[in-house]
């Protein structure tokens, strides 16, 4: 286990390092001057120079990169003089556009994305796996066909469409739900749930298809396995046979896909967040990209990479947990 953590941990760090270098040089190599963009249109050369100095853009790229990395680990001071800013670790830079630390921007957006994604993922996995499970057990019947049809319909639709449709239906027309809004679950758990229902449902509807199909295929495969026959021969009730033996054995690829989906989504559910007007990481990233607010873009890209790497490590670790034949190391 220790070896696993050490090995995967260092690999993960190496990946993140690579991503950070790539992102850094890509974004800071763009032809437009970040300082000019921050300054706005009616901007004097002195102001541009000032922002350049503040951002450290007058220094060599590698120095800038070093500063950036140092900021993440121990924090740093951005700018000079009276207006210098003490940016605490983990310092992801400073957004001059909104006059605040990038880490607080990201820190604010993260709970929104985590709420959307974790809730949505729980729903889409549950819905997908259940649908797949039921269709496998009722293979060839109308239940099977409608379950798979339902999930395929979801997969072939666009979130713009479904999201707006649900919103128009439940919020504007029927008025059953308030407009989707993020409320911290620690502030009001009820409001959090109510505000999140639509994004969760939309995500569940759209993403469950792959889980349904995968689960169905896996179930059909494991149901013909010898150990399932053994379980039935032991006299286990069918529910336990299906859940504890058949589903459990087929869960590995589902967990893999789930892990990857989760990692990608945590980096920002861009479309969902925009459709429902929820200022999560994806919303923030899109906004920052549109405004060329480089420190924020950089931070969101790093964050996305971090989540993908993290969920990959967790999925690897889960393999060993799920399948005792897999050895960590």
């Amino acid at each position: 286990m220790a070896r696993f953590i050490l090995r995967r941990g260092s690999l993960a760090l190496l990946t993140l390092f690579g991503v950070s270098v790539l992102t850094f040089f890509m974004f800071f190599a763009v032809p437009t001057s970040p300082a000019e963009l921050q300054c706005g249109r009616d901007c004097r050369p002195a102001q541009v120079q000032n922002i350049e100095r503040q951002l450290g853009l007058d220094q060599p790229l590698w120095t800038q990169y070093g500063q950036y990395m140092k900021g993440i680990v121990v924090g740093r001071t951005i700018g000079q003089g009276d207006t210098a800013i003490k940016c605490e670790a983990p310092c992801l830079g400073w957004s001059f556009r909104s006059s605040e630390a990038v880490s607080s921007i990201v820190g604010r957006a993260l709970p929104v994305t985590i709420s959307i994604v974790l809730g949505g993922a729980a729903m889409w996995a549950l819905l997908g796996v259940s649908l797949g499970f039921i269709s496998a057990l009722r293979r060839g019947t109308w239940i099977d066909r409608s379950a798979i049809g339902f999930s395929l319909a979801g997969a072939s639709l666009q979130i713009y469409f479904v999201g707006l449709l649900l919103q128009v239906l439940f919020v504007y027309t029927l008025k059953w739900l308030p407009t989707p809004t993020y409320t911290s679950p620690f502030e009001s758990f009820g409001d959090w749930i109510v505000g999140m229902i639509l994004p969760w449902t939309t995500l569940a509807f759209l993403n469950s298809a792959i889980y349904a199909r995968l689960t169905r295929a896996q179930m059909l495969e494991t149901l013909s396995e010898d150990f399932v026959r053994t379980a039935r021969a032991k006299g286990l009730p069918s529910r336990q046979v299906y859940l504890r033996h058949a589903l459990r054995a087929g869960i590995t690829p589902i967990v893999t896909i789930f892990g990857l989906d989760l990692g990608v989504s945590l980096g920002g559910a861009v479309i969902t967040e925009n459709v429902f007007g929820m200022p999560g990481v994806g919303f923030t990233a899109a906004e920052a990209a549109r405004q060329l607010n480089l420190p924020v873009v950089m931070a969101t890209v790093l964050l996305a990479a971090f989540f993908i790497v993290l969920t990959n490590v967790i999925v690897d670790w889960l393999y060993a947990y799920i399948d005792p034949r897999v050895r960590l190391g």
């Binding site: 437009t32 706005g40 002195a46 006059s99 604010r108 504007y172």
Partner: protein, 574 residues
């Protein structure tokens, strides 16, 4: 000009335009809206009670995305300026609009709109008694001076630059003074603060517009002890009727009453609602749909001009919420500029002015989002005078254009901002100008780069759409930046027609030097007409309109003329 940001937003938010079935507009422009702002005789508070208004309730404001800058000295975008100036901070002067269509400049913190001497070069302001910040401490003239001082800081570059440039006597206001940070003086150059109630501006040149300039948030007080410098955006210290309770950037801001604000000192603001909630997370579609549905919190909600009803939702809004649409002109004029360095033939420019089909153009634009325009100044700007130098009728006069062109075919390049609406406009121009003998090549420019590209003096385009709005309802914030040839620089130009006409340049200097506002207004109106008649450097096409929705329980709403935006001063919950 009131921020390019807003132009960008207004353009993007309106989305694709199509015929919405409202083509009642011909060449007729709005008449009743023409209004010259006057300087008020009486600046005393309190503001007159709004009939039917009562205290209580929560008003929700939908605005697209977080305010970039709420720091008064950096605040230069309409929605945040409205929020700031109506609710959070007071300025030396301000606009009084009591819903009767009358627009006055009044003393806000100051007892009057300014005492002028020395031929319009010296302006003295005296603060009222009993002015307090949210913590109960007194608002001083030193704090007003400090606010203006910090607007000089290169670290706070985003606000308007009028007062700084007037004080410095030069466009490069940072040459000698860089604000109060890093050891700089707390009072900017050419400002005197003899006592806590008096502030005197000694401009090197005359500025008759000073009462208007002092309504900009630049002239808002900031106590040095509360100055968090570039982080002041997050929590400006309140001098207005409301203060910030919570501000979750990009999500929402909650404003509650500032108990230390004394209505007796304030001639324009009220504090009827208990709270304001600013919701930054809505799109124009969502906000409009919510307001049409009029459900729950949306009953007491409204939006700003950045949330103009999208074309896709407009028919529904008309069908279901017709009486809850706030519509009226903003200060923006859209015009198709000629790059006069390249299109040097006056007859050609005049021909296109005759040929332009404003009615057709407006259909593509979205009929409800504008009115046909023919002047350089908007009807909301003082000095506006209605005329059409090249009246080709509502749909244009092709024959007249052909005659002027001598039946020749000319090739021109039209650059457009690559948005759905502007693509449609470009295509419309190409097809509608063809019969006149104009072979228009249309060329897209990246959305975010558009103003940078056409702001370059050596750009390779012949024509492009340009929009401009005044910073206060005076032509002095329109004609000089747009038509003064001496202001042309290699990059970042606002004079994108690149008109450099000695007579115009001279006249601009002369009018700016006038100390009588009425006389100046008259002169600006004449110059507007003269530029068009003599030079035709552009085709004015559309006077921009705000068209937004508000909830059924909103009372006291009005369209604020100087901001071209929903006004909050008289707002109450029914």
């Amino acid at each position: 000009m009131l921020s390019v940001g807003i132009l960008a937003v207004a353009l993007a938010a309106a989305g694709c335009s199509k015929n919405t079935g409202e083509d009642t507009n011909s060449g007729e422009t709005t008449k009743a809206e023409t209004q010259t702002a006057t300087l008020a005789e009486n600046s005393d508070g309190p503001a007159p009670e709004v009939s039917g208004a009562k205290k209580g309730g929560t008003v929700t404001l939908y605005t697209s995305g977080d305010f970039e800058h709420l720091d008064p000295q950096q605040n230069y975008v309409v929605p945040s300026q409205t929020t700031g100036s109506n609710l959070l901070y007071r300025t030396l002067t301000q606009y009084r609009e009591n819903g009767d269509g009358k627009l006055e400049v009044v003393g806000d913190l100051a007892t009057n709109t300014g005492e002028e001497s020395n031929g319009g070069k010296t302006w003295k302001y005296t603060l009222k008694d009993g002015l307090k910040y949210e913590d109960g401490s007194a608002i001083t003239a030193q704090d007003v001076a400090y606010g203006i001082a910090r607007s000089f800081s290169p670290d706070l570059p985003n606000g308007p630059h009028y007062i700084q440039q007037w004080l410095a006597g030069s466009a490069d206001y940072n040459a000698k003074y860089k604000g109060p940070y890093n050891g700089g003086a707390k009072v900017p150059p050419n400002v005197q603060v003899p006592d806590a109630k008096t502030i005197i501006f000694n401009f090197p040149e005359a500025h008759a517009d000073t009462p208007f300039a002092m309504a900009l948030p630049t002239a808002s007080p900031v106590p040095p002890a509360r100055d968090t410098k570039i982080q002041y955006d997050n929590r400006p210290f309140s001098s207005g009727p409301y203060k910030i309770q919570t501000y979750n950037r990009t999500q929402k801001m909650v404003l509650v009453r500032n108990e230390n604000w004394d209505p007796k000192t304030d001639p324009i603001r009220h504090d009827y609602p208990d709270q304001y909630v600013v919701d930054f997370t809505r799109t124009a579609e969502q906000a409009s749909e919510l307001l049409i549905s009029d459900a729950g919190a949306a009953q007491t909600a409204l939006t700003f001009q950045d949330m103009t009803i999208p074309a896709s939702v407009y028919p529904k809004a008309v069908a279901q919420a017709k009486d809850r649409i706030l519509t009226g002109p903003t200060q923006y004029v859209w015009q198709i500029n000629f790059n006069t360095q390249r299109v040097t033939d006056l007859k050609l420019r005049q021909a296109l002015n005759y040929a332009i089909d404003r009615q057709g153009l407006l259909k593509v634009w979205g009929s409800y989002a504008g009115e046909p325009g023919s002047t350089l100044l908007s009807p909301t700007t003082s000095g506006y005078e209605k005329y059409n130098a090249y009246d080709g009728g509502p749909t244009g006069n092709i024959e007249k254009a052909k005659e002027l062109l001598g039946n020749k075919t000319v090739k021109l390049t039209y650059a457009y901002r690559n948005t759905e609406r502007n693509q449609a406009i470009a295509a419309f121009l190409r097809s509608s100008l063809k019969p006149a003998g104009v072979d228009l090549t249309i060329q897209p420019v990246d959305e975010d780069q558009y103003y940078t590209v056409i702001g370059k003096k050596n750009n390779q385009f012949d024509m492009y759409m340009y929009g401009w709005g005044s910073d206060w309802p005076g032509a002095g914030t329109v004609i000089p930046p747009l038509w003064d040839g001496k202001r042309i620089t290699p990059e970042g130009n606002n004079n994108t027609a690149y008109l450099n006409d000695p007579k115009t340049n001279e006249e601009i200097v002369r009018i700016l030097g006038l100390s009588d506002l009425t006389e100046a207004d008259k002169a600006w109106g004449a110059l507007d007409k003269d530029i068009m008649t003599r030079l035709a450097p552009t085709i004015p096409v559309i006077y921009d309109k705000q068209t937004t929705l508000y909830g059924s329980k909103i009372g006291g709403i009005y369209l604020s003329k100087p901001y071209g935006n929903s006004g909050l001063n008289n707002l109450y919950v029914k």
